[in-house]
Symmetry: C2
Subunit: 227 residues, 2 copies
Amino acid sequence: QQRFAVIGLGRFGRQLAISLAERGAEVIAVDMDMHQVDAVVNEVTHAVQLDSADEDALRAQGIDNVEVAIVAIGENFESNVLTTALLKRLGVRRVIARASSEIQRQILELIGADRVVFPEAESGVRLAQSLLVPDIWRYIPLSGDRVVAELTSPKRFWGKSIGALKIRNRYGISIIAVKRVRTVEEPNGPTTEETVDEMPGPDYVIGEQDTLIVVGKGENIERLSGG
Amino acid sequence: QQRFAVIGLGRFGRQLAISLAERGAEVIAVDMDMHQVDAVVNEVTHAVQLDSADEDALRAQGIDNVEVAIVAIGENFESNVLTTALLKRLGVRRVIARASSEIQRQILELIGADRVVFPEAESGVRLAQSLLVPDIWRYIPLSGDRVVAELTSPKRFWGKSIGALKIRNRYGISIIAVKRVRTVEEPNGPTTEETVDEMPGPDYVIGEQDTLIVVGKGENIERLSGG
Ligand SMILES: Nc1ncnc2c1ncn2[C@@H]1O[C@H](COP(=O)(O)OP(=O)(O)OP(=O)(O)O)[C@@H](O)[C@H]1O
Ligand SMILES: Nc1ncnc2c1ncn2[C@@H]1O[C@H](COP(=O)(O)OP(=O)(O)OP(=O)(O)O)[C@@H](O)[C@H]1O
């Protein structure tokens, strides 16, 4: 049962603390600014105001009694470095620290960070991916160029059956599953319902709302999706 | 053929511009600070120094001649808002703007942003996911609780065949593919090589370096992975 400490409740740290707690994890959220502490007090297990560069304060509040600590301090790099070093010295098994540059990463690794993350740069990479392949929502790479991908069904497929479309012959792609979202009329008003057909047969007719999960070469999937 | 403009080359904007250009997209990178412009001049199509709050400068440099513009200015929210508004007025089809709060998002949408992103918060959500399911590298949700997932092969499977492990009977999980990374001795020194077996048969022996791509219920996959 993993306990987490998040130190620094800026935009990255606060969302991290809340997302962990939302999924049932035990989270101690720490910040020296009482406003940031107050902003999360109802969303995490414990919210504590303290200066994380103060070793006694960390120990007094039990910040060292977690399995994973994330130092999410951004602007103040010295505080970040000192906090990381103190948490390792206090025996925290895994300390993840935030960096803004390659040099900062090297420093953090030298003083003991087990993993270094780059929140802004990582979002930059992800946005680039999502802009370049907008119809492909998610993918898992297989071999060099084959992937499992989830994508919106192309317009020109709507209302046609998988067999009639000859997808495997024309694109070398297999459809693992089709997700369909439909609106259901209920007494209280309409709700949406998602159904999934795994390994759909040739008679399956692709609908406007369908999402396809496919296996095939990346370039063929883009050709299928881009039309 | 999509052309992109990235305005604001902080950590998020710079990485976004570089990631787009790395994948062959045409990218104009803009910043009012010459140092930031210089830092990307060899990585993007054009790097331009200008104040994006100046409509004439935007037009003179052709920043309005792109299909997608991303306003990646962080700290200076007024510049972000004005730049977004100007780009829409100049006719850019899709303007994506960065925000730091819900109120900022509402303002940006009111003045015409087509999409709003939160780089720090999005990284917080992703890190939480990766911390909570560390052995599951990537996944694609299917129905409410079934997923396609990529995960490290559990220790207790190493050296055993898929048939002997009775994975489908015991976990209700199908293995779509197995990725294996091996070191190959070459004249110039060792290199790593990735091979993938799709739909491996019951005789396939799982190795220490293997990554499994599976389909099944999320909770069963976590049980398989967590052991
Ligand atoms: N020594 C410290 N002890 C505890 N909290 C700290 C310390 N130093 C900074 N913080 C807190 O860390 C939080 C985030 O750090 P900071 O403002 O430096 O980064 P940021 O880059 O603006 O954050 P983000 O990009 O995530 O919004 C702030 O709320 C700040 O009060
Ligand atoms: N009006 C403007 N025109 C052009 N560039 C601008 C303008 N305003 C700010 N910038 C540039 O935007 C860049 C990033 O913005 P800023 O420093 O405000 O955000 P940041 O939150 O620190 O960025 P990041 O978190 O991505 O590192 C800076 O390099 C800055 O020079």
